[in-house]
Amino acid sequence: MVLKVWLALFALLALTTTMAFVQLGSANLAIALAIAVAKAVLVLWFFMELKGSAGLTRAFAAAGFFWLLILIALTWADYSQRRDVRVPVTISSPRSP
């Protein structure tokens, strides 16, 4: 079981690294994140033994990710729609020669 999961993780790592060099525009980020989620689910389900866990344990495990989803979704929904706030790019402190 451990060997199979390990091989699957390596296959996904090879896939995600390869896909990064293919130009797909904004789909690159989506594919990379989808593969990361797949890898995380493999680790959670098999290595972290959620597969054989009680419902309460699974609920505890899901809680953190659920709140994270809210945090990211609401932040993204706000800032991706803003057109009035632009952060200045010139944040670099001038270096003395």
Partner: protein, 214 residues
């Protein structure tokens, strides 16, 4: 052997061993939920930077070392597999195997930290370390912001890993001497180790895979 038998007895506060096991599992998951949000805030910040700076931030990520990053991901995934084997060995009462798998886990963890340190050294030489030595005229503000975030995220991850390595080494030695403390469960330690692996699984594409084309 009476010592070993005693150590499998749950503490007085538990009804039985199964309850003790469930309580410790839930406790670790509750802690990991706070860790999810801890690293999650960093990841949310990264998405904001992507919105604000777009292609500039993606170009900044292109300065990271993808070969070393990919090798390190493979190292960490393998360490997690070793950790899973250690837990499985410990639960099947194979003490010697558990000890060896834990040693392998810690060794791979140390290899990860070594490779990461080498990456930091390369970045220092390329004047990519904000506050310490950053060539603002050459790289620009978005790159400085990205690398500030990069050192925070990878530094905090490395700190978590170092703490994990410490516990894993301690557990390996304790098992070898047949003196594993009651409170230290390899399974619970495994949950922590795998979580640190999951953090890296998400940091890897955000740091190394952005900016590799176009």
């Amino acid at each position: 052997m009476s010592d070993r038998a005693a150590s499998t007895e749950p503490g007085f506060q538990f009804a039985d061993a199964a309850q003790a096991r469930e309580v410790s599992t839930l406790g670790m998951w509750a802690f990991l939920a706070t860790e999810v949000l801890f690293f999650g805030a960093l990841i949310a910040a990264y998405f904001n930077y992507r919105i604000w700076y777009g292609d500039e931030l993606i170009a900044a990520a292109g300065h990271t070392k993808i070969v070393l990053g990919t090798i390190n991901t493979a190292v960490l995934l393998t360490s997690s597999a070793c950790m899973a084997m250690a837990v499985w060995s410990q639960e099947s009462k194979a003490r010697r195997a558990a000890c060896l798998w834990l040693a392998a886990t810690a060794a791979l963890g140390l290899l990860f930290v070594a490779i990461k340190s080498y990456e930091y050294l390369l970045e220092y030489r390329e004047h990519l370390v904000p506050a310490l030595d950053f060539d603002g005229a050459r790289y620009g503000g978005a790159t400085e912001l990205f690398f500030t975030w990069y050192f925070c995220a990878t530094g905090l991850h490395a700190l978590h890993l170092l703490i994990g390595i410490g516990f894993v080494l301690f557990a390996a030695i304790a098992i070898a001497r047949d003196r594993l403390p009651d409170g230290l469960s390899i399974r619970i330690l495994g949950l922590y180790w795998h979580f640190v692996d999951i953090v890296w699984i998400f940091l890897f594409p955000l740091i190394y895979l952005a900016g590799r084309n176009g």
